[in-house]
């Protein structure tokens, strides 16, 4: 008991907590680790479930799930893994309730972990080598999308500023960006493969 208390005083990294849990199955450590990210899980759950109590229950059920999952899985990036667990849990909940998930919330097919791992270098690589293509593709975008993308990515403005400049609603700016980004990507991939 004393050892546990002493140990919890020292701030461990996520990976250390995970290793300790897999070694000992000690729930206290896992609980401490979970508390570290509990605000994220709660926010994610609320984002999908849009109900305080549902979200709270979701947080607890996600904890139950990771208690079992972490015994078998080796997790590299705990926070992003935890996010995908929470997200999948919420989507399952919604599916069970047969609530349509708003389009924005549906994540593209590729697995999330791949996305996180690949996107930074891919972005750099693509943009560097295909700037010309990019210019062409930009012209294919719808006007709102193009403007939003230009302002956001080239002038590095925030949503508020873009909204102020263009008169778009802030929420619209976001969806323009998301769609514009996706269209650009499709366009670029099309160019790459001829």
């Amino acid at each position: 008991m004393f050892l546990k208390i002493l140990r919890s005083k020292v701030t461990l990294t996520d990976a250390e907590y995970l290793a300790a849990y897999r070694r000992t199955g000690d729930l206290e450590g896992l609980g401490a680790l979970y508390e570290r990210h509990i605000d994220m899980v709660f926010a994610v759950c609320f984002n999908y479930l849009r109900d305080e109590e549902d979200a709270k229950d979701g947080v607890m059920q996600v904890f139950e799930q990771i208690i079992t999952d972490l015994k078998n899985h080796e997790v590299q990036n705990f926070k992003s893994w935890l996010h995908s667990v929470a997200r999948n849990f919420c989507l399952m909940q919604l599916r069970q309730k047969r609530i349509m998930v708003p389009h924005e919330a549906v994540f593209e097919d590729e697995s999330y972990e791949n996305f996180v791992a690949e996107s930074p270098e891919k972005d750099g690589w693509e943009i560097e080598h295909q700037l010309i293509d990019l210019g062409d593709c930009m012209q294919t975008l719808a006007q709102e999308q193009r403007r939003s993308v230009e302002l956001f990515y080239f002038q590095q403005l925030c949503y508020q500023q873009i909204a102020a400049q263009t008169g778009f609603a802030i929420s619209k700016v976001k969806s323009y960006l998301q769609n514009g980004k996706r269209n650009l990507k499709l366009c670029m991939e099309g160019k790459k493969h001829g």
């Binding site: 729930l27 509990i38 984002n47 305080e52 709270k56 607890m60 930074p120």
Partner: protein, 411 residues
């Protein structure tokens, strides 16, 4: 582009600042960019915004959740703790209870425990009877015997003349006599000494004494457990009754008499009632006073005999069975199935779980293929069972009862 490399996923704290509007425009841009790129950031950000929009007290919610997580984590711990505590408590309780019992047994004049321990062995050698006597008494007896060794004759002499009296009286009478001389000795010996002497009396007067008389043997002062030993005999010809039952009233325990009519019934308390019965005899009920009771005579009872025979029949047949017994029926099933397999080699083999109802005439009907076995096998199994024995069926209130059953036929 350099900035992108630096871009790490914003912390939830940072996102919260975004939601509250504490960030500069460029910081906002960074957060937004991250959210566009990263589903986790996006979900968290949107969630935080939604929480704010719904005017939910996020802090309170998180505090509650943290508490719930801690409780959940502790719950597992608690499953362990009571186990330890319970066993520890049980040990403490047992020791405490034992100590209390010993204290009860001992007199205020305090017998030294070391003496008692020493004399344990002594006593065990001295009297094999004490095996059935609880420990405190044993200690006390040992104490008594050791101290009493220098004048055992005197005590026996004191007891001998009063042998015809009920033993409890004997005990109380002998006590005051001894007391003035030696406080320690007399106090300790009051309980055990009669036990010892009663054993002697039992052996001496075994044949003449009845159980009823015996019940007036000394009553141990405490609710102690002992092993009851006795013998069941036929009252008329004095023969031992083999296979008689001795049942404790109010408990589902009992003993059965051996080839010599003897029985041992462990964990009996004084004043427990036992019922002694044997097929064809009138049962006898006895209140237990001592660990040894003399031969219990049972009287033959013809009425009881017939009654037993009637009541036991339906109980035996509560589970329906084939008319000629299970062994013959199983043999029949096997040979029939083997014959079918030998004649129909192309049919796949397997097990048929046959559900059917036995009607009031003992004929099986309403066959069902319970395990979805091959229809050919099922058909054959039905044929075999139909042509087989009729069934002896259960009777309820002397009326035959149709009954459903299942039967496995292996091909």
């Amino acid at each position: 582009m350099d900035k992108q490399k630096k871009n790490t996923i914003p912390t939830t704290k940072h996102l919260r600042r975004y939601v509250v509007g504490e960030l500069s425009a460029s910081e906002q841009h960074q957060v937004e960019k991250s959210a566009l790129k990263n589903q986790q950031t996006d979900d968290t950000l949107e969630g935080l915004q939604a929480i704010k929009m719904a005017k939910i007290d996020e802090k309170a919610a998180l505090t509650e959740l943290r508490q719930r997580v801690r409780q959940r984590v502790e719950k597992k711990e608690r499953e362990w703790l009571p186990y330890y505590y319970a066993s520890a408590a049980a040990v403490v309780l047992a020791v405490g209870l034992g100590w209390w019992l010993v204290r009860e047994q001992e007199t205020p004049s305090t017998v030294a425990t070391s003496v008692a321990e020493e004399t344990m062995k002594f006593k065990e050698e001295a009297s094999p009877l004490s095996a059935t006597i609880p420990i405190p008494e044993k200690e006390a007896t040992g104490e008594a015997t050791k101290i009493a060794t220098d004048k055992p004759k005197k005590k026996k002499a004191a007891i001998a003349p009063t042998q015809q009296l009920p033993l409890a009286d004997l005990a109380s009478e002998s006590t005051p006599k001894e007391e003035p001389h030696e406080v320690l000795l007399s106090e300790v010996t009051t309980a055990p000494q009669p036990t010892e002497s009663s054993a002697k009396i039992t052996s001496e007067e075994k044949t003449s004494r009845t159980a009823a008389v015996k019940t007036s043997a000394p009553t141990p002062t405490n609710e102690l457990l002992f092993t009851l030993h006795g013998r069941v005999i036929d009252a008329i010809n004095q023969q031992a009754l083999v296979g008689g039952t001795v049942a404790l009233v109010g408990q589902s325990r009992g003993a059965i008499t051996d080839a010599n009519g003897n029985f041992f019934l462990p964990n009996v308390r004084p004043n427990n009632q036992i019922i002694i019965s044997s097929t064809g005899y009138q049962p006898a009920q006895i209140i237990v006073k001592d660990s040894i009771i003399s031969s219990i005579p049972l009287y033959e009872d013809k009425q009881a005999l017939s009654e037993v025979a009637v009541t036991s029949l339906p109980r035996k047949n509560q589970k329906m069975s084939p008319k000629n017994g299970w062994k013959a029926y199983n043999d029949y099933l096997k040979t029939s199935a083997d014959r079918f397999v030998a004649q129909n080699l192309q049919v796949p083999r397997g097990r048929v779980l046959l559900g059917f109802t036995v009607d009031t005439t003992g004929k099986p009907k309403d066959f069902k293929n319970k395990n979805g076995a091959n229809p050919l096998l099922f058909e054959e199994a039905v044929r075999i069972v139909k042509e087989g024995d009729t069934w002896t069926i259960a009777h309820k209130k002397k009326k035959p009862q149709a009954e459903k059953t299942e039967l496995a036929v292996d091909f």
